[in-house]
């Protein structure tokens, strides 16, 4: 019975609902722009990671290495693009 019940998935589902609820608070509560954006960014990234690992089974096959290196490479490229753009347009314009 224990093997049949997808405990990991159910927990993951509950957790992703909680994350959504927390993100919604930004709309319903009156908070500063910085606080709001911080909450949105943090919950969004946790949510994305959760979906990838729990529901898209990223770490469950022997391709684990390839999949995670691709994800890390994607994150690297995204961060460089964002911070590079900030450098060009905001910090040094």
């Amino acid at each position: 019975m224990k093997e049949l019940f997808p405990i990991k998935q159910v927990m993951g589902f509950a957790f992703s609902l909680i994350l959504t609820a927390v993100a919604l608070l930004v709309y319903f509560l009156d908070m500063s722009f910085t606080a709001g954006i911080t909450i949105l960014l943090v919950t969004a990234f946790i949510q994305a990671g959760l979906q990838l690992v729990v529901f898209m089974h990223a770490g469950e096959t022997e391709d684990k290495g390839a999949i995670y290196s691709n994800v890390y490479f994607g994150i690297l490229v995204a961060l460089v693009t964002i911070f590079g753009t900030l450098l060009i347009f905001v910090w040094d314009m």
């Binding site: 391709d63 390839a66 460089v80 693009t81 450098l87 347009f89 910090w91 040094d92």
Partner: protein
Amino acid sequence: MDFFDRFAVPHPSFLIYASMVAIGLTVIAVLVGITYFKKWDYLWREWLTTVDHKRIGIMYLISALLMLFRGGVDAIMLRAQLAIPDNKLLESQHYNEVFSTHGVVMILFMAMPFIMFFFNFVVPLQIGARDVAFPRLNAISFWLFFMGAMLFNISFVIGGSPDAGWTSYFPLAGNDFSTSVGSNYYMIAIQIAGIGTLMTGINFITTIFKMRAPGMKLMQMPMFTWSALISNLIIVFAFPVLTVLLAMGTMDRLFDTKFFAIGDGGSDMLWANLFWVWGHPEVYILILPAFGLFSEIISTFARRNLYGYKSMVASMVVISAFSFFVWAHHFFTMGQGALANSFFSITTMAIAVPTGVKIFNWLFTLWKGKIEFTTPMLYAMHFLPLFTLGGVTGVMLAMSAADYQYHNTMFLVAHFHNVIIPGVVYAMLGGLTYYWPKMFGFMLNERIGKWTVWLMSIGFVLAFIPMYITGLDGQARRMYTYSEATGFGPLNMVAFIGAGIMAISFALLVYNIYYSVRYSPRNIGNDPWNARTLEWATHTPVPEYNFAVMPQVKSTEAFWDAKKNGHEIFKGKIEKIHMPNSSGLPFIMSCIFFVFGFSMIFSIWPLAIISLLGILGCLVYRSFEKDHGHYIPVEEIEETETKLRGAK
């Protein structure tokens, strides 16, 4: 009548009307020809619906060669206009349209499909696979690319060509300054082709990771396959930026959003920024497979294994990451401060290091090799010095302070042609000559081939070295004319002559194909070049299933070791082979994409909505379609094998 007014060309000229007639006649001739020779069925069965990677590859090749011709004609027109001061051949508007079309066609519709041809034709054979991971998707990729390219190509006779450069910077490309539908063509045609490219990227990464022959480890893959892997990786990370960028540009033009507007919270500079976030990786997407081809060619004809395999791979991996860190070198003069510019200057110069590593590896491969000067090798030997020159001027451009002098001059134009032509184009033509016998069962004539290379290089040097000089003297890029007093006249005349010689060289290539079809011997065997990798281990012509028995690989140069060191690659006996079924859906869906794109460009909303529904319909159909492929029975395989063995 109002409805049809929008299809009129805004700046008509005799040449455009002549082209309309020529296009119309060609289309009619082709249709009549196919009907007359009763080839519709053959065309549909063997080509339009095929999912075979070799055939899709050949269709990419044909498209690329046609587009090379189209872009080449544009290039000659540009050079002819600049050949003498105050020339009146093209007016400024036409000049703008021609250089914009030339740039887009050459990069996106010539160079890209050319590398796709090599990915498709070579990679599965090189890794000992029977097809790509997703054959159906592969067909969709090709047809989307093809429809995007066709859509772009009709712009100059229906509604007007884009005229804001291949970079299509805002605000120039916005509605205020580009009033014709030209820039809509740019946004939407490239979008459609780009979606196809993105899918190719996913397809080939999966193919290379999952479908290698038993025993082939990553670090035993042939160098071209490595370069294809890295290039497709860059595609997957860079092309989404282009997709988003073009979608935002489309919305600005069609729905009046303000992403790239001046004011209203928009930023025109954001276009330049995002364009190059995609654009710089794009040039590495093109050059890495070119490097891969040169690696194969050089090691084959130096008759020894590639020097520094590991450092070759490492340098490509480093390039793949660094290609994303340098984009701002395309707009040092946009107004950001010295800190940002210095950062991007340094990353740019750093990327020259892994590139240099590769150059030295090729030189060391040649060292002590028994070099044989075939046509593909001659391309490689011309590539090395000419490309190095382009690399050196690239480092000059990378110095942000100095770039204030070079930016937007002919110096820059000379630089990027200097890397693109000896780098990408030579690799494509050399690779084409190299793989020609595997595709068609006969070789291209070597004598004509070598004349082609020499003429190409002489033409290239005459056409582009003068542009370095006039550029330093201040001749601006994208200027349709100049006065006699500038003194640019004589050197531009030289450049025109050089371009003419390159055109002759291209004609010679076409003649070579004709000549070889008629006179080349057909009994060349499976391995005419005495090559080293798996694609030469199977028959010529390659049977549908590529390998009757899956090859077993133990070393980097599996086929060479089989020939010289007695490795056995084809162990085991023939079994029935599972192959994917052909399908008309990719072609049909891409045709609907064409209609969708066309109606978006001209804002014909009802048609756009109908065709969008059609696309969705195709997707839904595909989701419920049951397609398990088919098996080729053992008897049939044995029959084919005996026949092909006999043909030797």
